[in-house]
Amino acid sequence: VYRWVDHTAEVELEIEAGSSEAVLRESVQALGELLGARREAPPPAAERPGVVRHRLEVSAPDLPALLAAWLEELVFLAERDGFVARSVDELALDGCTVTARVAGVLGDPPPLVKAVTYHRLAFEPRERGYLGRVVLDV
């Protein structure tokens, strides 16, 4: 599950999930919501026209930086192409490298994220599962 934490100027995202992979999957849903997709909207079906898929490979020196780099990739695709990722078809995490195929739609996302910051950045195991936290500059 993910939630938005109150922040005076920016947007703070906090994710709790059963595994590190699930945190990355949830982060796609959260960013999609921020870019205009409805939270309860179903993921795009494979056969639906207009669905676009991207294969991503992202690496970082540590897990928190990986969460930031992963979201940066999605922010870049949104800004360059208007691509709003809505679901993850495949995702594999090997150390601090994630390879994934994400599905989404092309559109005209509303005013969106400028950058993914390192402020209060976290991606770490907890008693049950994993916690991810990131502040987005909007």
Binding site: W4, D6, H7, T8, A9, E10, V11, P61, P64, A65, A69, E72, F76, A78, E79, R80, G82, D108, P109, P110, P111, L112, K114, A115, V116, T117, Y118, H119, R120, L121, V135, D137, V138
Partner: protein, 480 residues
């Protein structure tokens, strides 16, 4: 952590003593009155300011202006000067929107001469010509004749040379002449170039805007005359920055410096403060890339001003467009090498504006007797201010003053209080004509989201950092 308490130095200056946060090398000081200070206890602004005081080589104090609010790493409204052998430069101390800033244009018309029908047409025409929102759609229209490389190296001069956009007077009336020395386009990553390539001449989103205003009051007639402002005159204020290009430069260098903190023996309380010695390869590369992004931002505001002038020409005639002049252009997100206290320091201003006093050699000759112009946007429903730098800024704040009203409420909190359409109607009733792509975005930037801008400028005036010259009242707003 427990709430941070600031101790009174005088009615406008408060200090967080060294030792409040582990690793503080100097005290932290905030310019504020009691009410503004009390509001800071509701978020993490003061904790962030104290964290800035841990930066290696920080000189004097970590400072904050009265519009300070919680940001990431540095608080917005933060100022830090670093120097000496260990002095660092921190990309987070500039922020993602490198050279976000404000340009003021003065029109040759009074508000009373405009009329309701022409005001609506002018707002429509500006909205039609100025691309807003997230990406770069429409940004390159009419600008394809200029090479990005030259914009990064030379700023708005590249537009003047290649396309005849702008003028020598506009370059003179821009902070640093619209070009930071040391800019190196090769230090800007391919991804940053890709993000910026279509975004020249676009406003962006978030708190970026273009505002049609009338001069509501004059406080210092001599300075107002020097700036070319008179009561009832129409002005246009443009607030934008370096767009995706600058965002990516900051992203690249926060990461790059985060990876070498150990090499330089730097320990920080917040990864977003990542930094490197000014003289290190990473520090030099960042300053070169940041300067290029700053030059891009000045060119962006020059291109936006050209689009405003086109709109003025269509609605008010070619002569009105020709007589629409730039008052000045200031940046409020930048790091610059400046001389203070007899030494060279790197002044980080994140949501803070340079405010050099009368006589300073870096002020254009035509303004040198009255001080550097500074523009303080308020919010859509309130006022904005034109200030002039005062000697206290050199003595107390590394030549710096505030940059705006400063946020008071989060975006979520303000959306809970009102919706965009309701706000649009209430602004219309108050005489402000609004053009906004998104109702949600409009609500997030409601006047209620911001502090009282009058209180903010009164503090910097009483503190001797800057003096009020004119007050501007919005009559039309185009929101990004």
């Amino acid at each position: 952590m427990a709430a941070i308490a600031a101790q009174r130095i005088d009615d406008e200056l408060w200090e967080i003593p060294r030792g409040t946060v582990e690793g503080m090398r100097v005290p932290a000081r905030v310019f504020a009155d009691r009410e503004l200070l009390a509001a800071l206890e509701r978020d993490h602004s003061l904790e962030q300011l104290a964290n800035v005081a841990t930066l290696p080589g920080i000189v004097g104090c970590a400072l904050a202006m009265p519009d300070i609010h919680q940001g990431y790493g540095f608080p917005v409204g933060g100022v830090a000067a670093t120097g000496g052998e260990k002095g660092v430069v921190s990309p987070g101390g500039v922020g993602y929107d490198i050279n976000c800033g404000v340009r003021l244009l003065a029109l040759p018309l009074e508000f009373g001469e405009l009329g309701a029908e022409r005001r609506e047409r002018l707002m429509d025409e500006m909205a039609r010509r100025v691309p807003v929102g997230s990406g770069g759609r429409g940004g390159s229209d009419g600008l394809r004749g200029v090479k990005l490389e030259r914009v990064l190296a030379h700023g708005p001069r590249a537009l003047l040379d290649a396309l005849g956009i702008g003028s020598e007077q506009e370059l003179e009336r821009t902070e640093s002449g619209g070009c930071l020395s040391g800019a190196d386009p090769s230090a800007v990553s391919p991804r940053a170039r890709e993000r910026g390539s279509g975004q020249l001449g676009t406003l962006g989103s978030g708190n970026h805007f273009l505002e049609l205003q009338r001069v509501e009051g004059i406080y210092e007639p001599a300075a107002a005359r020097a700036f070319g402002l008179r009561e009832h005159q129409l002005t246009v204020l443009i607030h934008s920055g370096s767009r995706g290009l600058g965002h990516q430069v900051c992203t690249d260098f926060v990461k790059r410096m985060d990876a070498v903190l150990g090499r330089y023996g730097i320990r920080l309380p917040d990864r977003q403060l990542s930094c490197a010695p000014i003289a290190s390869p990473e520090g030099r590369a960042y300053l070169a890339a940041m300067a290029a992004a700053a030059n891009f931002a000045w060119a962006n505001r020059a291109a936006l001003a050209a689009r405003v002038r086109e709109a003025v020409g269509v609605v008010l005639g070619a002569e009105a467009a020709r007589q629409t002049v730039q008052v000045y252009d200031v940046t409020h997100n930048v790091a610059k090498l400046e001389r203070h206290g007899g030494r060279e320091v790197c002044v980080h201003r994140k949501g803070a504006t340079r405010a050099f006093p009368p006589g300073h050699p870096e002020i254009p000759a035509e303004f040198r007797e009255v001080g550097q112009p500074v523009f303080i946007p308020g919010s859509m429903g309130t006022a904005s201010f034109v200030l002039a730098g005062r000697p206290g800024s050199m003595e107390r704040s590394f030549g710096t003053t505030c940059h705006g009203a400063g946020r008071r409420l989060s975006r979520t909190a303000v959306r809970k209080q009102l919706d965009g359409e309701e706000l649009r109607r209430s602004l219309a009733q108050a005489g402000v004509s609004v053009r906004a792509g998104s109702s949600r975005g409009l609500a997030e930037e409601a006047p209620e989201a911001y502090k009282d801008v009058e209180r903010v400028v009164e503090v910097v005036e009483r503190a001797g950092l800057a003096a009020r010259v004119a007050r501007l009242r919005p009559v039309g707003v185009l929101k990004g």
